[in-house]
C-alpha cells in the first residue's frame, strides 16, 4: 500500500485536501501566539505583527490561503454526502455553501 496515493489523480487531490489540515493547525497556533503577545503588552504585540510582515510569513500565509481555500471548496462539495436526504439537489447545497463562504468573507472584509 505504500505510495498508494501517488497512483491515481483522485487520490492525490484527496491528499491535498487532507494536507490543508496542517496549515489550519499552524495558523491557529500563530493566532494563539498573537493572543499571548496581546496579553503581554503593546511592544510584544507589535513585534508579533512585525514578524507577520516577514517574507517567509507572507509566503506561508499565501500557501495557507490557497490550501484552506481548497479545503473550503471541498468541504462544501462533499457536505451533501454527510447530510440526510433533503428536498433540494446536491448542487444547491454546494452552491449554498459557496455563497455562504462569499457572504462570510465579505462580512469579514467589511468588519476589518
Amino acid at each position: 500500500m505504500t505510495g498508494w496515493w501517488k497512483r491515481n489523480p483522485f487520490y492525490l487531490w484527496y491528499m491535498l485536501r487532507e494536507a490543508s489540515c496542517v496549515v489550519i493547525t499552524l495558523y491557529a497556533l500563530i493566532l494563539l501566539v498573537g493572543l499571548a503577545r496581546l496579553t503581554q503588552g503593546e511592544v510584544r504585540y507589535e513585534d508579533w505583527l512585525e514578524h507577520l510582515a516577514r517574507p517567509w510569513a507572507i509566503a506561508f500565509h499565501a500557501a495557507a490561503f490557497v490550501l484552506v481555500a481548497y479545503h473550503s471548496w471541498t468541504w462544501f462539495k462533499i457536505m451533501p454526502k454527510t447530510l440526510p436526504r433533503l428536498p433540494i439537489p446536491d448542487r444547491a447545497i454546494v452552491a449554498g455553501g459557496v455563497a455562504a463562504i462569499g457572504v462570510c468573507s465579505a462580512l469579514l472584509w467589511w468588519v476589518a
Binding site: M1, R7, K81, T82
Partner: protein, 239 residues
Amino acid sequence: MRTIAIDCLRYHPETDVAPRLQRYEVPFTDDMSVLQGLQYIKDHLDGSLTFRWSCRMAICGSCGAMLNGVPKLGCEHFLRDFYPGPLRIEPLNHFPIVRDLAIDQTDFLRKLESVKPYLIGEPPAKGTHQQTPRQMDEYYQYSQCINCLLCYAACPQYGLNDKFTGPAALALLHRYNADSRDKGKEERMAVVNQEDGVWGCTLVGYCSEVCPKGVDPARAVNQNKIESTKDYFFRFLKR
C-alpha cells in the same frame, strides 16, 4: 482488424512463486468489450487464463478487475478505448488472489453477513407491506448494489486496514435501515458504531466514483456518521 496489447496478471499458486504480467496480442473490433478480449485470450491464445464473468451486462458483478490501475467492470468497457495499449489487467486491489484475475471475496461476504442485509421484523398480520414511491426512494439507489467489489478495490482505507467494514457492506446496511418495512436499525447500530464501522471512512469518495450502479456508498456511509453521533450522545435518553 486492429490488435491491442493486453498485459494480464497471471498467478497460479501451485506453480508460481509470485504474480507476473503476461502479454497477449488481441485482435479486436470496435464493439468488443474488455471481457470479450479476455474471452478471446482464453479461447484462442491461452486456455489457462482464469477470470470470473457471467451476465456480460453489468448486473451480476462478476467481472470486476483493475484496468490500467482503475477498478472497472470488464463487460462495460471497450478495447477500442484502450487502444493501442498496452492495457494492463490485474485482479481487484486489496483482495487476496485465488488464481489469475479471480480474487477471494470471503472477507466481504463475512462483512455482508454482519450487517444483516435482510428485512428485520414481522410482516404485517394480513396482506403485504405497503410502501409509497417516496418511501422506496429513500433506499432505492442503495439497493442497486451488485456486490462487484469495485468500491473495495477503490477504498484506500480498506486497503490500509482490512478490518474496515467497507463501502458496499455499509451501503447495504443503510439500504435496510432506510427501508420503511425494516425494524432492524437498532440491531445494526453495533456495526455502524465501531471503529471499523462508519468511523473507518475518511470520505475519500473514490468508491462512489467507481461504482458502476450509482449506489454512492460514500453517501450511505457518511450519513450514518450523523446517525452514529446521534446514537452516541442520545443513547442515555433511550433508557
